[in-house]
């Protein structure tokens, strides 16, 4: 997969997306970004009058999706050189949302409206990390457990399974996105999503099977057996469903399915490492097999709770 080309396209799309917002405020306000958890920092082109810029009544801020809920502004701190102002809010901001800020009376203008959003690549990366660690499909969403407990006995099996999984997941995720956006939604067929998504997943499994058999028989011999298992797994069908309910775009879907697949690989690998050790340990007879595997998985789940609240951007 040509990642560079993808990123170029992404960047271009991103620039087009944010140009209108940036153009409106380009003259006076040079930059705006999220600061600390409850701050938005605005940079100005020229020194501003602290009396206007520093007045909280001059600002209205809301999240793009909830225009009715105005965010409570505590104070505005103007920097000593009067080139930047920091809006301090009462509560922490949800930085995954685009925030719309309306400022009055800056440099004599009646009103100035601009959007504050995270860097889009950063946001995509946070979708990836979210699916990979914070909302790991196995340990925090409890999906795909049948295959997880079935194939996590040995490390080599776990790796093979994880790789095949990621492959199928990304392919079927992107196909489902295409079908959902361009066929199901325009024709108001969203009630058919379960049938369509499971059909696409089976189709992908069959396609990967055929292609792999021809293109790389060696790889097929080592990974082919896992392909049958993929179809009986909830993770594969969960990704398109989450994509549909969150209205993700193409790149978000890609990151979500990649993260989900990677997360599954990670979970399988961790579990198989423990399983290999456990086969040497003396486990009470009633706990042998699945019960102890469940308890180990529970401990992993608790460890993964530690990732909640992880924020990179």
């Amino acid at each position: 997969m040509n990642v560079k080309a993808l990123y170029t396209v992404l960047l271009a799309a991103l620039v087009c997306f944010f140009l209108p917002a940036a153009g409106a405020a380009a003259e006076v306000i040079t930059d705006k970004s999220f600061g600390e958890a409850n701050e938005i920092v605005i940079d100005f082109a020229a020194p501003m009058d602290p009396a206007t810029v520093g007045n909280t009544d001059n600002y209205t801020v809301y999240e793009k999706d909830d225009p009715d809920i105005r965010l409570q502004l505590d104070e505005v701190i103007v920097a000593d050189d009067r080139l930047s102002a920091t809006l301090v809010f009462a509560d922490a901001l949800n930085t995954t949302q685009t925030h719309i800020v309306t400022a009055e009376g800056i440099s004599g203008r009646a009103e100035e409206t601009f959007a504050v959003a995270q860097s889009y690549l950063g946001y995509l990366f946070s979708v990836l990390i979210g699916a990979l660690l914070i909302k790991n499909f196995v340990f925090t969403k409890y999906l795909g457990l049948c295959v997880f407990f079935g194939t996590s006995k040995r490390k080599t099996t776990a790796k093979g399974m994880g790789v095949v999984f990621t492959l199928v997941m990304v392919t079927s995720g992107l196909m489902s996105w295409f079908f959902y956006q361009f066929i199901l939604k325009p024709y108001h067929l969203t009630f058919l999503q379960i049938v369509v998504f499971i059909g696409l997943t089976s189709l992908t499994v069959q396609a990967v099977d055929t292609v792999l058999r021809k293109v790389n028989p060696v790889l097929f011999n080592s990974f082919g057996v896992f392909l049958v298992l993929v179809i009986a797994n909830c993770v594969v069908i969960a990704v398109p469903l989450i994509m549909a309910s969150n209205e993700y775009n193409f790149s978000e879907t890609f990151m979500l399915s990649l993260g989900a697949g990677g997360g599954f690989l990670l979970a399988l690998y961790l579990m198989s490492s423990v399983s290999e050790r456990m086969s040497l340990a003396r486990i009470p007879p009633s706990f042998k097999g699945l019960p102890i595997a469940f308890i180990v998985a529970g401990q992993f789940a608790m460890a993964f709770l530690g990732f909640s609240g992880l924020k990179l951007f």
Binding site: F139, T140, K141, Y142, L143, G144, L145, C146, F149, F191, L192, I194, V195, I198, G199, S202, I231, A232, N233, C234, V236, I237, A238, L241, I242, S245, P284, P285, S286, F287, K288, L290, P291, I292, A293, F294, I295, A297, G298, A301, M302, F304, L305
Partner: protein, 205 residues
């Protein structure tokens, strides 16, 4: 029609001897994920029961017309259709309970237990046996979910079906999402222990 069991035995088989959760260890995801209360477990159990019975009957009725080579896709699409039916019905009739179950109702489509019963039973047996077998398997799942939900709700929040019965919360830990793994693991170990003891006492006699 190599089925020598009567209807009652078919149902009992699903609930006890081949309980989907505790014996076959299939369809574990919801057992861990949303079994925090009896009500959640019961609701999802009913949904699975519905899908299992109707899919079994559908496949059993049309078994002579399904070409063996495309049987798995046929099963999948049949299940997907019935899951869509129950998904939309629940969303319309019980929006609150549906919201709690989240994505798990739709996930029923990927449950190994349903496909397995279609492959192993419904595609060979006559319609009435398939109905009873589906009912047994569905009930077995329902019972498993309710039992796990009962333990978690009682120990986690000291309540049954939302009514406070204990007056205190013995182990708040049990209501936390990640405790699902521990509860299922411990219960499996407990059942293994009982079975082991039972077998041993029988052997000594």
């Amino acid at each position: 029609m190599a089925n020598d069991k009567n209807n009652f035995q078919l149902v009992a088989n699903g609930i006890l001897a081949e309980n989907p959760i505790f014996k076959l260890a299939l369809s574990m995801c919801p057992a861990v994920g949303i079994s925090t209360t009896v009500m959640n477990g019961f609701m999802l159990g009913v949904a699975v029961l519905f899908v299992q019975v109707f899919s079994s009957v559908t496949i059993s009725v049309f078994k002579d017309y399904i070409h063996p080579r495309i049987r798995i896709p046929t099963y999948t699409l049949t299940i997907a259709t019935w899951v869509t039916v129950i998904d939309l019905s629940l969303a319309a009739a019980l929006p609150e309970a549906y919201a709690k179950m989240g994505i798990f109702v739709k996930i029923i489509v990927a449950f190994a237990i349903i496909t397995m019963r279609l492959e192993m039973f419904a595609c060979k047996e006559k319609v009435s046996s398939s109905f009873w077998d589906g009912l047994g398997m569905g009930l077995g799942f329902l019972v498993g979910m309710v039992v796990i939900g009962f333990v978690r709700e009682l120990l986690g929040s000291g309540a049954i079906l939302g009514y406070d019965v204990l007056g205190f919360k013995p182990l708040l830990f049990f209501i936390l999402p990640s405790a699902g793994f521990f509860v299922v693991g411990l219960m499996m170990a407990f059942f293994n222990y009982i079975e082991d003891r039972y077998k041993r006492s029988k052997g000594q006699k």
